[in-house]
Amino acid sequence: MQYSRTLFATALATLLLSACGGGQESKPAVGIDPQVYTDSLFAVMNADRTNYTKMIIGRLGPAGADSIKPHEYWEDLENGAPLPAQMFRYGAEAVAEVSSDFSYSLQSLWPINSQNAPKTELEKEGLQYIVDNPGKNFYGTEALGDTTYYTAVYPDVAVAAPCAACHNNHKDSPKTDFELGDVMGGVVIRVPM
């Protein structure tokens, strides 16, 4: 599949430069592979999520100091804390508030909330692909409404034992035999072309 090589340079360049505290001078637009763009976004998302899971939930949760209570309805608990998947979704919602240059979501073939099941044909194909091909990502384009999107699907792996245990025991989970290291779902990043 041939993809445009001149997409979204400004957005990513601005993001990186602003993070360094610079970027006030205008730069000529240069091309960037959309796959590099989505891979970069996923790298940040995945790093943050893994760090939250291990450094906050793991260290302060029931498996560690037991001083916070990770829970789906954390806001109604004293010392409640959002689950890693919820932190991820809050990030996606916050991004959606400020940008339409890209969007992302956490989906699964075995979703706890059925609204998080794949909906588009490409999502279904991509989520099946990452389950059938562990360690590989999936890329494609699709038309939704009147816009064509570059869509990338990345495996969402159970990085800690509680990830699998929580899904296996949740009353709404259609799958109850996840193990550590399993692909439990996928991160879908979508960029308008």
Partner: protein
């Protein structure tokens, strides 16, 4: 010659009339104080009718942008939606994968469901509301939840089970956590207010002490001794200004100097929303509810309920409300068990916080850190009624009873004299489904 002359005269009159009409409309538009009623395409809903002539409140400077309208909605209601953990935030619908859903209901914009200037579409919620909003996305719910099979499409939000935005008291785990509660708690009692302790802040103390002295001809008012302000040492000049700037009648929002949070709530509610829009204070004659005729032209400010110098919170909690409100729910209060508790508390037969007043339910006490504040936006939990469950009903009652009681409009009208006619099976269904877990629990 005669006929063309008459024709010319008619044309002249038409032209003159048109010019006069255009001039009048133009001046009405440009004059901020002129009535804009001629431009209203239709009456507003209950929620907005008080400010219907303040077009800019919603339309800002123009009428050509959906975003302007959306921003107006969010400016006034966004904070409440966030506090309610809105179940359907805009971000749920901006995801491109929901593009096909937006073709049915463009839920990115409030006005897709809440249409204005069409009050005939109001189904009793204060704003217009389509009855089929849920089915567009959740038509398959019967497959996922067999217990929901056969339920009518318009019952999701009308049977006391779900709301589009606020499900704080209705989500499944909350139902389970409160499944076995008795209808009335063992020690129904309100949290005591601690307003006085909040007034220890140095800036507030300076405000309370005022500056300068009152004019020599001013005397201590009749109801001053013993009231909360007198006991707190509030100087006359704190509200009226010193001798040089003394005003006999302080501005309507003078109280906000010290009571900032209370004032913020007041301005967000129906009583204060006109003042928030820099209009004259609301009067009962502007209400869509039944009001006592003799109260029609009372202006609603802080002192309307609290009094100018007695600041009697007992009076403000019941008598002030019933001095204006004359609908069945309000009048039935005097025959309710809630009112009997209030009378017993006032007689000293029950401990403080045992009685239930109008303010107990419509101006609930909220805990913010160490502060216990009275929410002065009395409209905040009115609709949908389930918003009242957690901050109000559950202070004394069990969840299941509260859901049943609020879902019975006849019981609400009778001010909760009697028992709910129907049982809403939400808690039963949650418990039944939980049994299917066979004792499995996650690590958290």
């Amino acid at each position: 010659m005669g006929k063309p002359g008459i024709k010319t005269l008619w044309w002249g009159l038409w032209l003159l009339g048109s010019l006069a009409l255009a001039a009048w409309l133009g001046m009405s538009l440009l004059d901020n104080d002129a009535s804009k009623s001629a431009f209203l395409p239709g009456a507003m809903t209950h929620g907005h009718h008080q400010i219907e002539l303040q077009c800019s409140a919603c339309h800002d400077e123009g009428f050509n942008s959906q975003e302007v309208l959306q921003n107006a909605c969010v400016n006034c209601h966004g904070e409440q939606l966030a506090d309610a953990r809105d179940s359907h935030p805009k971000s749920k619908f901006t995801d491109p994968r929901n593009a096909n859903r937006l073709a049915n209901v463009d839920a990115r914009y409030c006005v897709s469901c809440h249409v204005e200037h069409r009050p005939e579409l109001d189904v009793g919620m204060g704003v217009t509301l389509p009855m089929d909003m849920c089915v567009h996305c959740h038509q398959d719910i019967g497959e996922e939840r067999p217990s929901h099979q056969g339920m009518a499409f318009d019952t999701c939000a009308s049977a006391g089970c779900h709301n589009f935005h606020d499900n704080l008291a209705l989500y499944e785990d909350f139902l389970l956590a409160h499944a076995d509660e008795p209808w009335l708690s063992e020690r129904p009692r309100l949290t005591p207010r601690n307003l006085a302790s909040r007034m220890s802040d140095a800036d507030l103390v300076a405000l309370i002490q005022g500056s300068g002295t009152p004019p020599a001809d001013k005397t201590v008012p009749e109801h001053w001794d013993g009231n909360a302000h007198a006991e707190a040492g509030v100087a006359c000049t704190a509200c009226h200004g010193d001798a040089d700037q003394w005003v006999d009648k302080p501005a309507p929002l003078q109280c906000a100097q010290c009571h900032e949070q209370e004032n913020e709530g007041f301005l967000q509610g129906r009583h204060g929303m006109r003042l928030a829009m820099e209009l004259s204070p609301m009067t009962p004659s502007q209400s869509v509810l039944n009001m006592h005729v003799e109260a029609s032209h009372r202006e609603l400010t802080c002192i309307s309920c609290h009094g100018a110098h007695d600041f009697d919170t007992q009076k403000a909690a019941v008598d002030s409300c019933l001095g204006c409100h004359n609908d069945e729910h309000s009048n039935e209060y005097l025959r309710s068990s809630h009112h009997r508790l209030w009378q017993a508390e006032k007689r000293g037969e029950l401990p403080p916080g045992s009685g239930v007043t109008c303010a107990t339910c419509h101006m609930p006490r909220e805990t913010h850190g160490d502060d216990v504040l009275v929410q002065h936006n009395q409209s905040l939990t009115l609709r949908p009624v389930e918003k009242m469950i957690r901050p109000v009903c559950m202070q004394c009652h069990g969840l299941e009873f509260a859901i049943d009681a609020l879902a019975d409009p006849h019981l609400v009208e009778k001010n909760f004299q009697g028992k709910p006619e129907h049982h809403v099976p939400s808690v039963d269904m949650a418990v039944e489904r939980d049994k299917a877990r066979e004792g499995k629990r996650g690590p958290y």
